[in-house]
Amino acid sequence: MFKLLEIKDVSRNFAGFTALDKVSLAIAAGEFFTLLGPSGCGKTTLLRLIAGFDQPDGGDILLDGKSIIATPPERRPLHTIFQNYALFPHMTVADNVAFPLRMVGCNKAEIERRVSAALKDVSLPDKAGHYPDALSGGQKQRIAIARALVNRPRLLLLDEPLSALDAKLREQMQLELIKLQKEIGITFVYVTHDQGEALALSHRIAVMNHGAIAQVDEPSRLYGFPRSRFVADFIGHCNLLAGKVMQLQGDRVLVELAGLGAVQVMMPPDVTVEVGSACTLTLRPEKINISSSLSQDEVQAHFKGVVHDMLYLGDVTVYKVELVNGMLVEALLANSSPGRARFFEVGDQVEVAWLSDAGHLVMD
């Protein structure tokens, strides 16, 4: 893997508050990399350090193997897409897009050619003479992208660029971003607090919490094999069942769930599991099956419960089932036949079951 951008032990403190604590990351050329985390986790601070708007208190940032800490923002070969787009209101769309080209002293003909090509790339060739005020949110977004890509930076930083758009448009822009990144092959570093967006867009995601990196992984691994309760809880919906490791059985682990009994779980990869230590079984709602009759043979874990609550969402219905130990677990059932809204009613006695490879074990 060719490391385009390297973050080495970067720290940043603001008056008594540690925004970043010795963060290290390596981002490959051509990657769509996302910094994901709740607000205040340090993701935007890190992005501003990479862009050069702010200086780290410790550590180093390398681009192509060379430190860029001392380089002012205008000489770093990277551009930023701001949350509010930051289009210059006193310049036309064409002048906005031409701005980075003017700064490096391109000649007029070259600027004209590249600006019109850039506007065509974002399918807004007829907006050249308009002022930003006359554009819709989605159009502003595209112009900001055209402006940031017109002189082909090595790296594009995106700071929650879709958060101001409505849900439909956001989804459309997500698809466009993926396509765009694939076509031009420029490395994207994307900041968001929206885990769904991160999963949809990224090649790799760094989940951040309290100024540190909790886990860096591909979306499917992050979803399937979270390394901590925080990651399991932050990415998607997840049932967290507290337990204790009882016995190691080859590639399986016997776990005692508090108040429920023992269940078999797959041995998690790359983690040391010791008998007697506290752990959490993470179970995605779609991996849990609920039924009114006793389940099939291959089902490993099954417990009695009572439907406590349900949420009809159209394509699926979420059932909250209270187990015998008083714990609520969420299960998700697809409403496969039309008009079928529910399989169970609140108060129904049900069986809750999951396969032994459905859950994923996280050490506390």
């Binding site: 551009h79 930051a86 209101p89 490096v104």
Partner: protein, 256 residues
């Protein structure tokens, strides 16, 4: 319409009447074909004609324009820098220092500046007047610029730097154009304040260099002639135009 509303309208009319009737009288009598401000004889422009042949008034007007032009220009440059600094660094002391001359009584400014110039052994004249006017104009420009500055999104200047502009290019191509309405409003306000100023100018003018307000005052000492009415009307018109421009450019500037 009930009584309460009637009372409100009456009060409003009385207040506006009190404010503007004296001005209206000056304007009306400037067109009066009589030497006395007592009765209306007929419409005439002869006082204006006389005004434009009065060398003393013309030179005073010329002085006023020169002084207002230069002090507005210098105060605009310094005030803009001060306004930007006040916004950027959020210092506690600086705003106080810049804005104090606004709150200071004019007479105090006049006396202290006079003493200061004498201490420096400066001869009083156009230069001393210009310096004095600059001091009290800076604050107004700074306020206007600061108000405009806080309306500019910080990410715009960051975006400019990010897209390859060095600090100077960023200032010239982004900050300055966006600040322009605030700067222009400040400049016009400074010009208005300078051209209308009497008290401070009175102290630092010295002998040979009269301004329009000083000239009017010295003429009034003898008698309020229709000529005074005419020059006052012109001054009023100029002020009105400038204030309208300022209000157009930045609705907030006049309020602060």
């Amino acid at each position: 319409m009930n009584n309460k509303n009637r009372l409100l309208i009456f009060t409003a009319l009385a207040v506006y009447g009190f404010l503007y009737l004296p001005l209206l009288i000056v304007v009306v009598y400037s067109f009066n074909d009589s030497k006395l401000n007592a009765e209306w004889v007929g419409f005439s422009l002869k006082w204006y004609d006389k005004l434009f042949h009065n060398n003393e008034i013309l030179s005073a007007a010329g002085n006023s324009l020169i002084i207002a032009g230069i002090s507005a220009l210098v105060a605009t440059v310094l005030g803009t820098l001060a306004g930007m600094a006040m916004y950027q660094y959020r210092l506690k002391v600086l705003p106080g220092l810049v804005l104090a001359p606004i709150a200071m009584p004019d007479i105090l400014m006049g006396v202290s500046l006079l003493l200061f110039f004498i201490m420096l052994n400066m001869s009083l004249g156009l230069i001393s007047i210009i310096l004095a006017h600059i001091t009290f104009c800076i604050g107004f420009v700074a306020l206007s610029v600061q108000a405009r500055m806080s309306g500019i999104d910080r990410s715009l200047t960051e975006a400019a730097r990010d897209l390859g502009a060095n600090p100077w290019q960023c200032f010239r191509m982004i900050t300055l154009p966006l600040l322009a309405p605030g700067i222009l409003a400040g400049a016009l306000m400074a010009f208005t304040l300078s051209i209308d100023d009497f008290v401070v100018t009175f102290f630092v003018a010295g002998v040979g260099s009269s301004t329009l307000p000083l000239q009017i005052y010295s003429m009034v000492k003898i008698a309020v002639t229709p000529e005074v009415n005419a020059i006052s009307t012109l001054l009023m018109l100029l002020t009105l135009i400038l204030i309208t421009l300022v209000a157009r450019l930045s609705p907030g500037a006049l309020r602060s």
